[in-house]
């Protein structure tokens, strides 16, 4: 892979120049809540929160929108396709490896079997520029094998002190560099050593660990484990964990009618398997009637069924759900308890 060097002194210039390509999305800090971050459109490169670790909502919000109109309809004319932001060129800047892995998983879900034209239209206009990070006590990407990315980005910036090493992942990324060649320089021996030192430091900084060896099999054996009832007693089924998860993709489709009772719009909106009506069918039968079954479903979908379906779990270890759960339910704790067979959570 081609790697070049970008001095930190030039990175703001680089960011500004990216606006020629399209909308630049960066992590920003919430002014009223220091230490809390969210992705938003960059107006000025000084807004870039270089120190950010995780945002409340992952960048999936730009690809698989929380709520979008997918059709306008009329009783006589039928359905007219609406694809929001179809022509918007976008750069997602500053994505950490876990979020890039998250997008890789969504790519598979939304393009396998049938192409989802809404996701695809936005995805193909999206450039991904990654950024290295140092983990905190809620990050466990290393355990999920998502702490590095070999692909899935156009450019990836690794912080080596005074400079960034910039890995070029795609031909488009190469163009972005070539068009701004004056900002970049060659990587030198010293830079390589700095990178290895950075990598070592990063590897040693992980504090949270989850053993996922054999996990699908263990889960299959523990289908009836009392831990699921324990969790059912604690979970509020508020759905926050799914909303903030970079790989949760479930949605509902519903229609809203205008007052003429003829026209309206069809809407696609995030949903979660934790909600009571998720598996409810006509006549009132609910395939996951009680809360425990629904909480359990979230773990099984991510750690068991996704492995069967796509060959890897759909948790990227970003720690967002640990952060977001008002009841303090912690995915690492839960799965560790299942493995240990100690079922009481705190």
């Amino acid at each position: 892979m081609k790697v070049v060097k970008l001095p930190k002194s030039k990175v703001e210039e680089f960011l500004s120049s990216l606006q020629d390509f399209g909308e630049v999305i960066i992590p920003k800090e919430k002014t009223e809540h220091p230490g809390v971050y969210y992705f938003d459109v960059m107006e000025n490169p000084s807004e870039m929160a270089w120190e950010y670790l995780r945002t409340i909502i992952p960048p999936k919000k730009y690809l698989h929108k929380p709520r979008e109109v997918i059709f306008k309809f009329h009783k006589e004319q039928g359905y007219q396709e609406v694809i929001e932001d179809k022509e918007t060129k976008r750069i997602l800047f500053g994505l950490h490896p876990c979020d890039i892995h998250g997008i890789k998983i969504l790519d598979v879900v939304f393009n396998r079997d049938y192409m989802d034209p809404y996701y695809y239209a936005r995805r193909k206009n999206t450039v991904i520029i990654g950024l290295s990070c140092l983990p905190d006590e809620k990050c466990f990407c290393k355990s999920m094998n998502t702490d590095y990315v070999e692909d899935g980005f156009d450019l990836f910036l690794s912080d080596i002190g005074e400079d960034f090493l910039v890995a070029v992942g795609t031909s488009l990324g190469d163009d972005l560099v070539a068009e701004r060649a004056h900002l970049f320089s060659e990587v030198e021996e010293e830079d390589r050593r700095k990178y290895l030192a950075f990598r070592k430091k990063r590897n040693e900084s992980f504090r949270l660990e989850l053993d996922i060896s054999d996990l699908p099999y263990i889960l299959d054996l523990e289908q009836k484990s009392p831990i699921w009832d324990e969790l059912g007693k604690r979970c509020l089924t508020c759905g926050s964990c799914s909303m903030v998860c970079p790989t949760c993709y479930c949605f509902n489709v519903y229609d809203t009618l205008n007052l003429d009772a003829k026209s309206g719009q069809r809407i696609k909106q995030w949903d979660a398997c934790l909600f009571k009506d998720y598996a409810l069918v006509a006549g009132g039968h609910n395939f996951r009637e009680n809360r425990a079954e629904r909480v359990k479903n979230r773990y099984y979908h991510k750690q068991f069924r996704m492995v069967e379906q796509y060959g890897k779990p759909s948790c990227v270890g970003c720690g967002r759900c640990i952060d977001a759960c008002p009841a303090g339910i912690d995915v690492v704790e839960v799965l560790t308890k299942v493995r240990e067979g100690s079922y009481v959570t705190h």
Partner: protein, 260 residues
């Protein structure tokens, strides 16, 4: 097709929901064109107080003896009766002090001299008549109201939301009041529809839309206690809106049990 005949009524209430309907500025003309508003004391004169109605929208809780008679009369003359606003759906703010005896409360509020109010513990419409559809909110949300009307105009029952405010709150990318601020937020218990208005203004949800179908009282109570919030505090905060209808014994028990 002839336009559906509509009546809009207020029992014991602040008229906030009726005001919200009047505030649908851009759509009010469309609405007025689509329906035939026959009886709306608050907004028009020449009301037909006897005619049969296709849809009756009723605001307010039953908190006076005469409300019961009015409500039963409305029920008789309408095909579809809709409870609009949390007072009508759950009892709402008027029900907040249901545990205080009425005579004491009347004295506190109006002094000794007042005799004309026959006040009683506030209750939702469904305690007295069959309600066909519930549209909660304090006040109701304009978009939800218009969509409900469109569904009725089309001959359908509107869909019922059955997930909590938290999902809307997260879609708005708010910080969580519970996690970050140790506040008592009713979001996980409360049905969505408001677009997480309060948490979006950095204020915890006070539950004004009333509960979701499957409220997890015990978990909620335990969760706050684990965070070191006192039972009285939890009850006080959660009792403001729909609390009497959806909180009391179970939560109380749970809290007392826990604190032992």
């Amino acid at each position: 097709m002839s336009k559906p005949k509509i009546g809009i009524f207020g029992l014991t209430s602040c008229a906030g929901d009726q005001l919200m309907i009047l505030n649908c500025e851009d759509q009010l003309i469309d609405l007025a064109n689509a329906v035939d508003i026959r009886d709306w004391e608050m907004a028009k004169t020449n009301n037909d107080e006897e005619c049969e109605l296709d849809i009756a929208l009723v605001e307010g809780s039953v908190a006076q003896v005469r409300d019961i008679e009015n409500l039963k009369k409305i029920r008789k003359r309408s095909k579809i009766l809709v409870a609009i606003g949390t007072c009508a759906v759950w009892g709402g703010i008027p029900a907040m002090k249901n545990d205080v005896p009425r005579d004491i409360m009347l004295k506190e509020v109006y002094g000794d001299k007042v005799e004309f109010i026959e006040s009683k513990a506030a209750q939702p419409l469904s305690s007295f008549v069959k309600v066909d559809y519930n549209l909660p909110g304090c006040p109701i949300e304009k978009d939800q109201f218009l969509q409900m009307m469109a569904s009725f105009l089309n001959g359908d029952m509107p869909e019922i939301l059955n997930f909590s405010v938290c999902s809307e709150c997260k879609m708005k990318e708010n910080i969580c009041q519970i996690v970050y601020k140790q506040e008592v937020c009713c979001g996980p218990l409360t049905v969505a529809g408001c677009g997480a208005r309060c948490p979006s203004h950095n204020v915890p949800c006070s539950g004004c839309h009333g509960p979701i179908e499957e409220v997890h009282y015990d978990a909620e109570a335990k969760m706050f206690q684990r965070k070191g919030i006192k039972p009285e505090e939890i009850i006080r905060k959660m009792q403001v809106y729909a609390a009497p209808a959806w909180m009391p014994e179970k939560l109380m028990e749970e809290l007392q049990h826990e604190s032992k």
